[in-house]
Amino acid sequence: MSSALAGEEAYRDFSEGGVRFLGPGRDVESPDTLSAVRLGLSGPARGAQGQQLRLGVQLALDAANTANGYGGLPYESIFKPDDESWSVVAGQIVSLVYEHEVWGIISSLDGERAHAAEMVVAKLWTPVITPGAADLTIDFANVPWVFRLMPHDRLQAELLVRAAHERGFTRLALATEGVREGRVGRDRVTAAAHALQRPLHAHVEFHSYDAPAAAPRLASSGADALLLWGRPEAARELIRELRRHDVSVPVFVPASLVGPELAQAHASLGAVLGAAPFDLYADDPDLLEFRRRFEEAAGVAPTHLAAYAYDAAQLYLAAINAVGLNRVRIADWLLESRWRGVTGDIAFNSLGGNMQEPVLVELRDGDWRRP
């Protein structure tokens, strides 16, 4: 039973109810007519995150190709941009599988795109690793083809609520953007606050266009800390607007906001703490080497997303090396694997969720560092 639901005796607990794919296909041999081994990649083409995603994957494939690829065949990534709308994702997944015959897909930085991908691969039977989506509902679709890397949003919400209270803040306000990510965040934070017996002081919903109107409402709420869920640009503008209203309370944000958008604006944001998926500055040799190689190749420092993209590609490479070019066996391997990546230990539960805990970081001089 999840901690958020502790105390309720339920008819069914689905947490351990994940399934292995029981359909056919494990006996299909690897084809011998390929000119390349392709992985699909779906994500934003524009902006810093899109660049980080693509570079993370490419770094892994380049290293594999330098080491003779897959039995002499080069690895390739096929990229499909999903900037405009999450609704394009379904068609993109179809294209990656049917036209490009990819062996695995790295897709989705949010829950909407992850679910759209999930619905398609439940029919098309191709693995999807989500490098940047933390929505716990992805797991509870119970599709045995989808694997979530980032610590889920309920763990993030619990970490942030607990951290705020440990720092003596008792009147927590919640601000959520009026989009799906915000709605899901509201549910997660509310559940976490309930489970930790720390009821929320106030809740304000805002939109990307009305931060000037939302800020005074939050300012007058009497809150001594703010939990904020939404898209990076909208969240950044709301924090700036709060500071303009001389609201100096610390702001606690989820992993989707622990990225370059807020980091680059740090001078105008004041105290911001976040639930990072892992410590990007940990003294880990593999992570340090990844950071060095990424900066050398890209000229910029990697983000959490770049590291997850790199690990996602590495997982596929390891799976293909272990079981060959067979999508069912690749999915089986992912489900059963215990892998040490640059993002830490990766192990998926029966629902395909990585059992990783988030860590608290704070925005300090443009970097997200452990307090």
Partner: protein, 368 residues
């Protein structure tokens, strides 16, 4: 090769009522079709019966079985995409509506017309469900519910912005007796009354995706995979079990899980009802249940659930108690079931490795 095999009869305890009289029926004779028989592909997503014709959607084209012969239609014939996820037949015109992974195809009078999101009001090209409602056709897509008004040649699109959909992601649909139903991925079941044009959504009442607090309080899980409405009974499938709702009667919900019923597995890809009997397509075989008696008949491999080439059996349960096992000489073509439809007394089952047909042979069971 088509195989017609008569089942072995098991020795059973005489109960005073012949098995042939009870519902769900026990199908002891199964016929299978594969690529070698003319099926476009062994991976069959969907099946729809039109009187003496059987349409089959596969990952490599649309198949038509008529007069003992198979015909294949692909994009070269005008189909919008070769992956055919969903099918519906207009009972009056016999037109066929084909939901693919690249648009909707309307087959009428031997001609095909393609609808995509670029040349029509279709919400999205990936069509998980298609249903005929009078002179209209509904599509369940990742971008909402599309309703094509055939006589007006126009589209209506329903999303969370103009209807009570918790999420817009349609995964299956059905129309019967004046009500359109959609299974929404994350949005439970959605009802549209054609006469009143009123919407109603049905969500998991405990509000938690991680648990089902009570068995019979509503939909067992909010991510739904199938929906079927017959005789006032709504049946909903999920990857965590199934639910029924007596929509036109007591308005009571019931939950069904594999540990407290005869359900083959909680992982359910499909549900189709005929009368008061629902058929569930799962990853471990097919199950059927009668709503009033809670009597189940499940068809599954005897040993490992994935050992579909090994022996199969029909298991009869009263609620969760196994009361009879009937060995089948020929089982279904695979345990992973994706679609079901009915032809007179027979049942057609789309599996992930071939198509199966259960022939009703009351003479075989009645002789016991």
């Amino acid at each position: 090769m088509i195989t017609l095999i008569v089942a072995l009869m098991a020795s059973v305890i005489w109960t005073g009522v012949t098995a042939a009289e009870e519902l769900p029926r026990i199908y002891t004779e199964w016929e299978t079709f594969h690529e070698a028989d003319g099926l476009p592909s062994d991976k069959t997503f969907s099946v729809a019966v039109d009187r003496d014709r059987v349409w089959v959607g596969t990952d490599r084209g649309l198949g038509l079985y008529e007069n003992g012969e198979w015909t294949t239609f692909t994009v070269e014939d005008g189909l919008s995409h070769n992956a055919v996820l969903s099918l519906a037949v207009d009972p009056l015109t016999r037109d066929v509506w084909v939901g693919t992974m690249g648009g909707l195809t309307w087959i009428s009078g031997g001609r095909m017309r393609v609808f995509t999101q670029f040349n029509s009001g279709l919400p999205n090209d990936v069509i998980f469900g298609v249903a005929v409602e009078n002179q209209n056709v509904w599509t369940a897509t990742t971008s909402g519910q599309g309703r094509y008004l055939v006589r007006k040649n126009s589209w209506e699109v329903y999303t969370p912005e103009n209807s009570p959909q918790h999420e817009p992601w349609g995964y299956a649909n059905d129309y019967h007796d004046g009500k359109y139903w959609a299974a929404l991925w994350g949005g439970g079941a959605l009802e549209f009354d054609v006469t009143t044009e009123q919407w109603q959504e049905y969500l998991d009442p405990d509000g938690h995706m991680e648990i089902a607090l009570f068995r019979d309080d509503g939909i067992i899980h909010v991510i739904t995979t199938g929906v079927s409405f017959r005789e006032g009974l709504l049946w909903v499938s999920t990857y965590f079990g199934a639910s029924s709702y007596d929509r036109m009667g007591t308005r009571r919900w019931r939950g069904y899980s594999d540990f407290d019923t005869g359900l083959a597995s909680d992982f359910i890809n499909w549900v189709s009802a005929r009368g008061r009997v629902a058929w569930f397509g799962t990853d471990k075989g097919v199950s059927s249940v009668h709503y009033d008696t809670n009597r189940w008949v499940t068809y599954a491999p005897v040993n490992d659930p994935m050992d579909y080439t090994g022996p199969w059996e029909a298991r009869v349960y009263q609620e969760d108690e196994l009361i009879e096992t009937v060995p089948l000489e020929q089982g279904l073509s695979n345990n992973f079931i994706l679609g079901i439809d009915f032809q007179d007394d027979d049942v057609w089952v789309a599996t992930s490795k071939g198509l199966s047909r259960g022939r009703w042979r009351p003479d075989m069971l009645g002789s016991r």
